[in-house]
């Protein structure tokens, strides 16, 4: 069991680096049986440990206008449900890319994406602010994304080692 947990951990680290790594390559790298790798992945998919395989995109390089805002939202929790219900009402909107419950001066951090400033502003004034338990919002537009999920967008470190060295 412990061994399986360790294997899962290592498989996750490899997949996090490259979700397209084949089970065959993972088996070689980890010195494990390919069958065990497949089992580990299947179990983690079923348990929703692995939620989805996706792609990290640098949208700045795509000819496609879009703006992102990080919105600090203060809310009154609902009796019996706390923040869950209100968080759901917000995250169900497709233009909402992520929602975090935060400690500190505000409650929810909401990442919203739109084609332009007006679209995001409209979302805040027409959808987010009018929700009963929302007390206040503070909208911060992002100007540039440098790093996401541990991945640096403009990697400038090259391999400048000597070709042959002792």
């Amino acid at each position: 069991m412990r061994e399986m947990d360790e294997l899962k951990q290592k498989v996750l680290e490899l997949l996090k680096e490259d979700a397209r790594t084949s089970t065959e390559l993972m088996a070689t790298l980890l010195g494990a049986e390919e069958e065990d790798i497949r089992t580990a992945i299947e179990q983690m998919e079923q348990d929703h440990v692995i939620v989805k395989y996706t792609t990290v995109v640098n949208w700045d390089k795509v000819d496609d206008e879009r703006v992102t805002a990080l919105i600090e939202v203060q809310i009154t929790p609902e009796r019996g449900r706390g923040f869950e219900g209100i968080a759901e009402r917000i995250y169900m909107y497709p233009q909402v890319k992520s929602v975090y419950l935060m400690s500190g001066a505000f409650d929810l951090l909401v990442e919203v994406e739109g084609r332009n400033l007006r679209e995001v502003a409209n979302f805040v004034s027409e959808k987010l602010s009018p929700i009963d338990s929302v007390l206040s919002t503070k909208t911060n537009f992002t100007l540039k994304k440098y790093k996401q999920d541990g991945i640096i967008f403009e990697e400038h470190e090259e391999d400048n080692r000597l070709m042959i060295s002792p």
């Binding site: 390559l25 070689t28 790298l29 980890l30 010195g31 470190e157 391999d159 080692r161 000597l162 070709m163 042959i164 060295s165 002792p166």
Partner: protein
Amino acid sequence: MITNKSQHSGDAEKSMKSYLAPLVQQIQPSGIRKFFDLAAGSKDIISLGVGEPDFKTPWHVREACVYSLERGFTGYTSNAGMPELREGIAQYLHSRFAVDYNPANEIIATVGGSEAIDLALRALISPGDEILIPEPCYISYSPITAIGGGVPVGIETFGENQFKLDAADLEAKITPRSKILILCYPSNPTGAIMSREDWEPIARVVEKHDLIVISDEIYAELTYGSNHVSFPSLPGMKDRTILVSGFSKAFAMTGWRMGYACGHPDLIAAMLKIHQYTVMCAPSMGQVAALEALSNGMEEKDRMVESYNQRRRLIIKGLRDAGLECHEPQGAFYAFPSIRATGLTSDEFAQRLLFEYKVAAVPGSVFGLGGEGYLRCSYATSVTQLNEAIERIGAFVRKLEQERRG
């Protein structure tokens, strides 16, 4: 008049050479140098010839150095190195390898492990002393020995024995002039390691023949499956061993040139004497970085070791699938497959691999006795590059097979 080299004045060059010390003139250029020149002229090469990590120095180490420069920490340090650094090295060696040294008089920070080896040899050699060197090995030991007036005596190690040093082979080379044994495990180029059981008979020979040991443990952190056994941790060996190590391989800090030597106060004092007259002290900014690596770098180091281990499995499997016999290297970041079955010498194999298949690797013959018939392949390069290199090596081996049949 001294003529500019670019004017191709062969006579002038020759005449200047006559001023050189005979000891230095006799030293042959390294076989690695030749491959460096060959590879440098070619394009689209995948290199398995690199003897250093493919990681950059962890950011916290670089940042600590930058911060120290901003604060103006740019002067000399004490000759032996910053006391905090020596203290850090002592604690590290104690906790990782169970060897204890007094930071006050048993540790000296050096300009890379290389300087430590040079200091140790210069402090110990009298003209004509024989220096025992298990081979294949790192290319510097013999030349440094020779410059110091010593006589290098190679001891062959064998693939059939995972390139471990055999006590009987060692003893067979001992004469009344034998003085020093240079050890380098985990080994560059073979990846061999020595377990406690492997070491014990060696320690008995060392004791019996009253040898001094220079133990180059620069790859100590890079072992896979078992912890490195430091030679001075063996009973009775500490006083007669100079432990040499450094930050290059474990913490991906090759360019910083930060190493150290540990040993008996009498030996360290003699080495310190040479060190203070030649380099004064190791670079202060490098010392700051080294201390940061020891203080906060273990997690990142472990991550790098795990990554080497994964790639080690990949290259061994790949080389074997390609049809080359390959023992399992347990340390460092080199695979050392045998290419004997191809019928080529290691030099021919490496040259044709470079020119015909654009993969650079180092022929085993440059590493001394026992290296002929093998190829050093560094796996400190990306998985993508390794896979491509393995494919090309496989294609080359198949071509050689066809040539032999045809």
